[in-house]
């Protein structure tokens, strides 16, 4: 593109090329946007992820249920006195991901543990009431969680996540 004739008006010519190139770049970027954005969840999926309500009344002490919210299994455990006791008495310094039990349950509802039942290692679903800590055991790679859903042993780096939820009454929660 650089020949003798370009020496006459170098700046004007360069400006034109730069402007055209810039416009092409802007156009390309604007085109890529919808092509990528379409991969995000569609409106129906987002609408289906609205909060759900769960009735806790039928869950007896020592039992737990699994409900689904946004495609994720949520464990709701009605913990026994022993489990609560264990969860509260652990020395925080001994935990890989230190977090007091009070930060993982709602105040005044110590007996209810609500966690997302997805192992923080690689996404398998831990089995409740198994393992050495009265909590959860992940069969995939042997991570063990305690009765507060905190990681105690194994490759998982973090505690089981607590989903956003709130008590609507003593026997009803809303997840999400």
């Amino acid at each position: 593109m650089t020949t003798a004739s370009s020496a006459d008006h170098p700046t004007r010519r360069d400006f034109l090329f730069v402007a055209t190139g810039a416009a092409a770049a802007v156009g390309a970027a604007a085109t890529v946007w919808p092509l990528v954005a379409q991969m995000n969840p569609d409106a129906a999926t987002i609408a289906a992820g609205a909060p759900i309500q769960v009735d806790l009344a039928p869950i007896a002490e020592g039992q737990d249920i699994k409900v689904f919210w946004r495609g994720k299994p949520i464990y709701i455990s009605h913990r026994t006195k022993k489990q609560i006791q264990e969860a509260q008495s652990v020395a925080l310094s001994s935990l890989p991901d230190p977090q007091p039990d009070s930060a993982r349950v709602k105040a005044g509802h110590d007996q209810w543990l609500v966690v997302i039942g997805i192992c923080t290692h690689l996404g398998c679903i831990p089995i409740a009431h198994e393992g050495n800590y009265d909590g959860f055991f992940c069969p995939c790679h042997g991570s063990q969680y305690d009765s507060s859903g905190r990681i105690r042993q194994g490759p998982a780096p973090a505690n089981l996540a607590v989903p956003p939820y709130a008590f609507l009454s003593d026997t009803k929660i809303q997840i999400g």
């Binding site: 092509l35 379409q38 569609d42 409106a43 289906a48």
Partner: protein
């Protein structure tokens, strides 16, 4: 692609790769240093335009396949969900659907250019034949793609086209059964068409590589039709051809965007917004516009097998063109007779296309036969004869001479020819509209709609009133399956807040379940729920309504149309008139008359409607004055009700219309500025070549 290159990259890493895989040299010799005749006109940019279109179709197609469900029960719905729920889904679908038409539009120009300038002649026979193969593959791909939305035209198009093969003697029925994978067109057919529709574009891409390879071996033809002799006759592909092609592409994109953003349904058929129904054939089966000339040839022949043979021959004959036309002179520019016959042939093709869109009766059949004879005569009689009797004018000595000779007044001709082609093309494509004739129904009067035109927006008040009319009247019998309560709060909709939409939803009882006891139960509606249907299933709906289920209204405003007629449909292209559906719905709601006109009787259980095809409609007069009270003081008249509920139904059919037109305006502004920049850049670059 044109042999070994002496190109060597300077970067050591690239050098390392180049020694092991000489890919940079290949690219350099094919797309940078490649000598291209300096006298190419803009008709030669259609090769680049077609490459871009193929890439774009593959890209949007792969994306659509991420959201599409190839199942007879779910396909139609999944396409609607793409358009309604997927981020920019409406844009991607319009790009792909209109893109198919644009692809064919460009390929027809590309083919006519080859025909006019003799690009099929020695030594480019293989190049030409590869092109015909690409064209055949495109037709197969386009047909199978049209089946995928699984609307009425999809289903019946699939039925008719696959039945072409039943004309084969002895094996016909077996072949058709094999194509269907069943006793009729059904789910297996849809599944295999999806699979093949995904495969064939990549086959096309493969043949395109061969096509370009052959092109780079023989070199490009040019308007003068003389081979380059010295270096003065050519310019390097980059930057000269690259920049010219890019300018051509940016102009083509403007044309393309007109359809994507303003006329997405102009080239389609309203019937395809009705889900496939194996029990009812649409009144007029019409293929997509790009098949119409061949469809006309098929119908011109009264014998089934002969018709099918004629139709396929019309395409296959192109393969023999290099030998049918044995004239030495390539370019029709220097062939006074061939030039005239070429334009006659173009007109014949366009007229055949028009006839293909018309009902096969009366004068259309006779005209179709005459034009079919003309079509074949061009190849079998005119071209071989001209080669023997025509005295061509002298061709220029070299391309350089040609460039010097015609540096004046060229732009004007090119522009006028381009305009003529656009008008002719829009005539052809608009021809489809004509076929949707309505027997025995008056044309609805054109109304003024707030949502028409490039700046059209839905009238919020009208949408809210229309929703009220739907809820209090229409919803007693008609479902609205594709509209969810959450949509009421969507931007570009009736303008309700999330809370208002939630409150509206909670007034409905929605069936849910099964619960822990395994029982179904009812609960208040949520915003994620869809408008509940008034009847549990189609049979119940039919039983309660005199034997015919009231149609779903979600797409009603796009699924109905009426004949616009020539030349109205040509003007529609420029005025962006897209409101046949709303005009029709509005007219039907107001078209009831208590007493049929004298001499007209309608069967029992039907009602006289001025605008309904055949006049006898099963729906009793749904609206009467004073039936619905509006809070905003709008008149409680049937006219007002009809207008509002139609506006509401248009929104229900196309909830993202406002986004489409808004983004369209931005894209247009950008493309026009970009094309202008490209034009001046191209001029600067080419200034060096002269």
């Amino acid at each position: 692609m044109s042999g070994p290159s002496d190109f060597q990259p300077s970067n050591p890493a690239l050098k390392w790769i180049e020694r092991r895989l000489p890919i940079f040299g290949l690219i350099h010799s094919s797309f940078v240093a490649y000598p291209t005749p300096r006298n190419l006109n803009y008709w030669w940019t259609f090769g680049a335009i077609l490459s871009m279109m193929l890439g774009l179709q593959i890209l949007t197609g792969v994306i659509l396949a991420m959201h599409y469900t190839p199942h007879a029960d779910l396909a139609f719905k999944s396409v609607e969900l793409i358009v309604r729920d997927v981020n920019y889904g409406w844009l991607l679908r319009n790009m792909h659907a209109c893109g198919a038409s644009m692809f064919f539009f460009a390929v027809y120009i590309h083919m006519f250019r080859g025909l006019y300038y003799g690009s099929y002649k020695e030594p480019r026979e293989v190049l030409w034949i590869l092109g015909v193969i690409i064209y055949l593959l495109m037709m197969a791909t386009g047909f199978m793609g049209y089946v995928l939305p699984w609307g009425q035209m999809s289903f019946w198009g699939a039925t008719v086209i696959t039945n072409l093969f039943s004309a084969v003697p002895y094996f016909g029925e077996s072949i058709v059964t094999l194509l269907w994978g069943g006793y009729s067109v059904g789910n297996p057919t849809l599944n295999r068409f999806f699979s093949l529709h995904y495969l064939l574009p990549f086959v096309i891409a493969g043949v395109v590589v061969l096509h370009i390879w052959a092109l780079h071996v023989a070199g490009q033809n040019n308007p003068a039709g003389v081979e380059p002799k010295t270096e003065k006759d050519t310019v390097p592909f980059t930057p000269y051809a690259t920049i010219k092609d890019a300018f051509g592409v940016s102009c083509f994109l403007i044309f393309f965007a007109w359809f994507i953003f303003y006329m997405p349904n102009y080239l389609g058929d309203a019937d395809n917004y009705i889900p496939a129904n194996p029990g009812v054939t649409p009144a007029h089966i019409v293929p997509e516009w790009y098949y119409l000339p061949f469809y006309a040839i098929l119908r011109s022949i009264p014998n089934k097998l002969a018709g099918v043979v004629a139709m396929f021959s019309a395409i296959i004959i192109l393969c023999f063109l290099p030998w049918l036309d044995s004239a030495r002179t390539r370019s029709s520019k220097y062939r006074p007779l061939a030039k005239q016959f070429f334009w006659i042939f173009v007109v014949v093709c366009i007229l055949l296309g028009y006839l293909g869109s018309q009902p096969p009766e009366g004068i259309y059949v006779i005209a179709g036969r005459i034009l079919t004879v003309c079509y074949f005569a061009y190849f079998l009689i005119v071209l071989p004869l001209l080669a023997r009797i025509e005295t061509p004018r002298p061709v220029p000595n070299s391309i350089a001479d040609d460039v010097l000779a015609k540096s004046k007044g060229r732009a004007a001709t090119a522009a006028s020819v381009m305009l003529a082609m656009v008008v002719a093309g829009s005539l052809l494509v608009g021809g489809t509209q004509n076929a949707k004739a309505e027997e025995g129904g008056d044309n609805p009067p054109a109304q003024s709609w707030s949502f028409s035109g490039p700046f059209g927006k839905y009238d919020r008040g009208s949408l809210q009133r229309g929703l009220k009319v739907y809820k209090e009247v229409c919803s007693a019998c008609h479902s609205l399956n594709y509209v969810a309560f959450r949509n009421l709060a969507d931007p570009g909709g009736p303008g309700y807040s999330e809370a208002q939409a939630a409150a509206f939803a909670s007034e409905y009882k929605i069936k849910d379940g099964p619960n822990d006891q395994g029982e179904m139960f009812e609960r208040p509606g949520r915003t994620a729920d869809y408008f509940p249907a008034p009847f549990p299933n189609e049979q119940a709906a039919a039983a309660a309504n005199g034997g015919k289920a009231p149609p779903d209204l979600s797409l009603m405003a796009k699924a109905r149309s009426y004949k616009r007629g020539f030349p109205q449909f040509v003007f529609d292209f420029f005025t962006q008139y897209q409101e046949q559906g709303p005009d029709y719905v509005d007219a039907i709601l107001q078209g009831f008359e208590d007493k049929p006109p004298a001499g007209v009787t309608v069967p029992d259980g039907t009602y006289y409607n001025k605008y309904f095809p055949g006049h006898a409609i099963k729906m009793p007069k749904p609206l009467s004055d004073g039936q619905v009270t509006f809070d905003d003081g709008s008149p409680a008249t049937v006219k007002q009700y009809a207008h509002d509920v139609t506006t509401f139904l248009m929104w229900a059919a196309e909830p993202h219309m406002e986004a489409r037109k808004r983004i369209g305006m931005q894209v247009f502004f950008f493309l026009v500025v970009f094309a202008i920049l490209m034009y001046f850049t191209k001029r600067k670059v080419w200034a060096d070549a002269h």
